[in-house]
Symmetry: none
Subunit: 194 residues, 4 copies
């Protein structure tokens, strides 16, 4: 499997760095190859084309979020705790990899429609897990029984996303992790049964 080979990972990581430091439109294949320490042509032994590199970046990195979230789901937590863990984890991963934060929040959004659709497919897996949490919360009576799950999901994700984007745009100069409890409170207030 190509994805397990060391050069595959090296190229994906190089792409994150190059995109973060140069911007999406200045991330030429040759720059990524140089950063990865391979020849231009080597890229094409592991990726079909440039778009494939970018989708892979998103897929590989998003896998971390999804896998963490699955671990959270398996624990014996109530909905509020799960949502907190989710927010905290989301913030934590991007807080730890600042290059990745720039890429996911700013640069990858500049991609064309086609690429964005493929990115959304990957994102869907994550949002589906969020739906599971929300539905469970509604079932157990922790969350408002009358609300629309899709809208609730958009509110949760929209708030998280907007918070992180804002942090990235302010050059990550304050502590994102400290915002987790407050974001969690805002969200829970919005969703809680009453």
């Amino acid at each position: 499997m190509k994805r397990d080979k060391p050069k595959y990972k090296k190229i994906v990581d190089a792409a994150v760095v190059v995109i973060a430091e140069n911007g999406y439109h200045q991330a030429q294949v040759s720059k990524i190859a140089k950063e990865a320490g391979v020849a231009d042509g080597t890229i094409y032994l592991y990726f079909k084309n440039k778009e494939d590199i970018l989708v892979s970046v998103f897929r590989e990195k998003m896998a971390i979020f999804v896998s963490n979230l699955q671990t959270i789901l398996e624990k014996d937590l109530n909905t509020s705790e799960m949502l907190f863990k989710m927010i905290d984890n989301h913030f934590f991963v991007l807080h730890e990899d600042r290059h990745l934060a720039i890429v996911t929040q700013l640069e990858l959004r500049q991609s064309g429609k086609k690429l964005r659709l493929r990115i959304n497919e990957v994102l869907k897996e994550y949002l589906d897990l969020l739906d599971v949490i929300l539905k469970e919360g509604i079932d157990t009576g922790e969350l408002d029984q009358t609300m629309d799950v899709r809208l609730a999901r958009q509110m949760v994700f929209g708030t998280i996303d907007e918070t992180i984007t804002s942090w990235v745009m302010n050059d990550q100069k304050y502590d994102l992790l400290k915002l987790a409890p407050e974001v969690h409170r805002l969200i829970m207030n919005g969703l809680r049964a009453r």
Copy 2:
């Protein structure tokens, strides 16, 4: 003042149409010129460069949101009512101009970092007005006294934005306006004093 001349407006409107119908990356200057019914070179009598056209698009159209929001602020409404009017107005404008919705929610986000920063400057005026509403709500005791205004603003805007983007991505096939009350309820639940 150039901005008042008829060709200026014609070019801005042409840009919205061309971007919506062709996508950001297929919106060449020559296409915009053709749609506006002027020669390529004429564009440069009214705009410094291509980026200037796009910023102008955003500035001219955002002015509608800002001006509407100012009118709302001047009315004698409580915070919850104001937020509802704001959400409803935001939804209404984009509901009425589907080209514009595509441009603001999808296409313009594909622009480079530099352009995005300039767009954010324009957006700031709108967000500042939102801050005014929120602060007033906190002062009057309608909203939670302990919450961070910046986070609250991100939650409000993030939820609205995510809802609209989701609607656009689903080809605007359901009625966005009908979602306003539910979105308002979710947001108010999150912000309300308790």
Copy 3:
């Protein structure tokens, strides 16, 4: 009409020179542009793509052969005389433009299948006129009544073509024009009624 503009002709002529001097596979668009004294991009104001340049070269130059042959057909000549004029004209044109001779006999034949099909369409016009001459000769009894016109045409064109190609491959070091009577005699011997 683009084909009448001076730059169109300049580019076509430049292409002939560049291909003749550098070979088909070394005739880059930028080289042709330089030879024509225009910018690379200018090429694309007059031609759809590189293939279009090459087809145009063939079409423009082949037009000379066709037009000359039409003039010959209009004269009051017998079949033998017409065939001689045709051979002589064919030799003469390529004798006068040695670059063109290299291009048509050697370089253009290296083009891919798609381009070759388009070239053959152009060539067809010329071969159709040859068919007219041959059919007329058969009707008037000058040529062998029993022979297959298609084969006869292939023999006439194959002989002419092979003779010129051989001359070009020998660096055009002998006088091609002097071969016309002998080639004519060979061909007429093959076709003549007996």
Copy 4:
């Protein structure tokens, strides 16, 4: 001698198949290697470079024509009979190996000048034998004493070549072998003493 090893022949045959089925410009070394069932690098143990493969294809296959023609020359035949056998043999070999016909008549002609010169060297052996037949015919008085041997050879080969190419281009959909007598008659009419 490398040429006798089984892998050498396997690679040459693979090249014919790959070129015929994919076209000259799509006949990558790696494709030939795959078809031959060897690794890419193995090719370079038997051939200096890609051009060497292609020249070898032509040399190996042309050897069949030459050897057959030599057999014909050794028989006790008059010139007309020899020319018929030659035409018939030429048609027969390509009629039997349709891949080879495509390669020699269409694909290999797309090669660059350098390769074409080397191919012509190989072809020379065949044309020299044709010269022998023609000179003998002139000596014995069967053929026209006054004609130029080189031109005569070009007429014979040009006619044969043009006929086969035409047949290949028409997807080999009529019976090439049946054309031999008529082609022979046309040629003999051209060459015969009178």
